[in-house]
């Protein structure tokens, strides 16, 4: 379970302080498929970054499965990300020098898994995302949709508790976007992993089981479907 309690995050833009999140509180149960929606600058990405331990907050608390993020130092946050969080980026962010297989297995290599386990898990997840036969291709030899599938496989392969996806379909056409969302839905069901993704696309919102609207760093609507 994820508990966000009155979290405040401010940024400095020149001499001005901008409040990205204003005492935002939110609870997300394990296995939920949540969309964080809202206009640009509403705090969607900031919230995802805080949940993923790749940014720090100025006030409040975030508790994930009983672990308080404010109490973690840099090393503990790294360890937390390594075991518990998978990221899916808008621009895929696959490592260009690694093949599809290597991009996925990379996440397991960081975990220090033995080679045999890495091989088995990587092939399994590539099969699940439907790209087993493209394992040797490099990112520049794959379409946007295929790259995002690899990114999903990379995020899922280590079986994390939480997958954070920042506008995962923003760079894709609507058809491919739908395919990616269906894949994410399917993975959510199959693995029981909590998916939280940001979007401002209406079509994407329709796929969400829960829709949290943000505006100026605050929740203005929280709709469960």
């Amino acid at each position: 379970m994820i508990e966000v309690q009155k979290v405040v995050r401010t940024y400095k833009v020149g001499l001005t302080e901008v409040l990205a999140l204003r005492e935002l509180s939110l609870t997300i149960e394990k296995g939920e498929f949540v969309a964080i929606a809202g206009p640009s600058g509403s705090g969607k990405t900031t919230l995802l970054n805080l949940l993923g331990c790749i940014d720090s907050f100025d006030g409040g608390e975030i508790i994930i499965d009983g672990q308080r993020l404010s109490a973690m130092d840099k090393k503990e946050k790294t360890e937390f990300r390594k075991h518990n969080v998978g990221f899916i980026f808008q621009t895929y962010n696959l490592i260009p020098v690694l093949s599809a297989y290597e991009n996925v297995s990379f996440a397991l290599s960081i975990l220090g898994e033995p080679a045999s386990v890495i091989k088995e898990k990587t092939f399994n997840i590539l099969e699940e995302v439907g790209l087993k036969e493209l394992e040797n291709r490099f990112p520049n030899q794959l379409s946007g949709g295929q790259q995002q599938r690899i990114a999903i496989a990379r995020a899922l392969v280590k079986n994390p508790k939480l997958i954070l996806a920042d506008e995962p379909t923003a760079n894709l056409d609507s058809e491919t976007g739908k395919e990616i969302l269906e894949l994410m839905t399917q993975m959510n069901k199959k693995h029981g992993t909590t998916f939280i993704f940001s979007t401002h696309d209406q079509m994407v919102m329709e796929y969400a089981k829960r829709l949290v609207f943000l505006h100026d760093g605050q929740i203005v609507n929280d709709e469960k479907r």
Partner: protein, 422 residues
Amino acid sequence: MKKDEFIFIVKLAFKNMWHYKRRTIITAASIAMGLAMFIIVDSLLIGAEKESENNLRWYETADIVIMETSYFEERLYKDINHTITGSAKIVSRLQENGYRVAPRITFLSEMFFGGVDFDEEGHIATVVTAVKPAPDKEVFKLHSTIVEGRYIEQNSHEAVIGSFLAEDIDAKVGSFITLLFQGKGGFFELIDLEIVGITDCPNPNVNRSLLIVDFNTISDYLETDYEAAEIYVSLSSFSNLNREIQKIEKILETNNNSLKVVGWEELSKDYLAIAKAKRGGSALILVLVFIIAVVGVSNTMLMAIYERTKEVAVIRSFGANDKFIYILFSAESAFVGLLGVLIGLVIAVSANLYMVNIGFDFGYMMREIDIGYRIQSTMHGSWNFLSMVLSSMFCLFFCGLFGALFTRRALKKEISDALRDS
């Protein structure tokens, strides 16, 4: 860190190196050029020093010289009133002890040239070296550098002249010269000599001023009772100079306490001082060459890491710790450094093979100017494997260090900032 993880990092670093080919080539080329320049210049300097030392010993100073203490103190005046008493006995004693010995007497003279043998008439101040041809050939190599004519014979009125001096006065083999000098006690004496040979040895100082005459003949004119002013000794093993000096001092101690036994280094202080100064200046140039290469390398490495800040952030977001990132980028930098070092070594070794075996001909410069080195024309390189290994290791170390330093800067950024800014 587990073995599999380490292998993965190394593979990834290697792949990155090949993926960013242009950057790799530019960086490796900078390293290669810096390293090759360093090794080549170092080789030339060491080669020049070694060759100069050999040319000093083979054509000017031999390994050890024995003189009267009073003569040694004012040796530049070449005062024949301070010849070695009983020099023949000393020579014999040293020869009995297995040394190759050459007695000599050098004196100042005015050389006159003109008449049918020369286009112009004139005179020039000269330092004349009187030698005993047979033993001199055992100690010095001048006889093997005769390019025209032959070496002098014993008891002859013959002279061998240095090639530059011969050119300066337009002397040829068969030309006659006249020497005006003072004998022992201060009387003036004249002697006519036939130039029988012109020497062109690898030591430009010798070519510039050498005039060799017969010892016995000149002793009659100088009235020095066939005593030598300088006794030159050649050693079979050059490495134990000080030990040999002590040994000779021991041999001669019972004989004559007023003698001075000195090594070639003592007699070549001027050259050694110049060589030292040159080494200092050259070291500065080498350091500058290295700094330029290092700045170039650091700049490309900095660019490499900055343009991949996002990639670093992505890797970190998946839980890679700082150590992972440090090793990854340091390994990548070290691989680029290794490539540069290998290319640099290939260039340097190829160039050095040429320099050691063929060398660069600077003869056109050496004729007119004295750059301090006792090298006549061809400057050879020398192998200095320790320098090669150390400079290569230095390159690799700095590449790895730069990689780590710039990675540290990338790691200081919050992951979210790095993802957003890139």
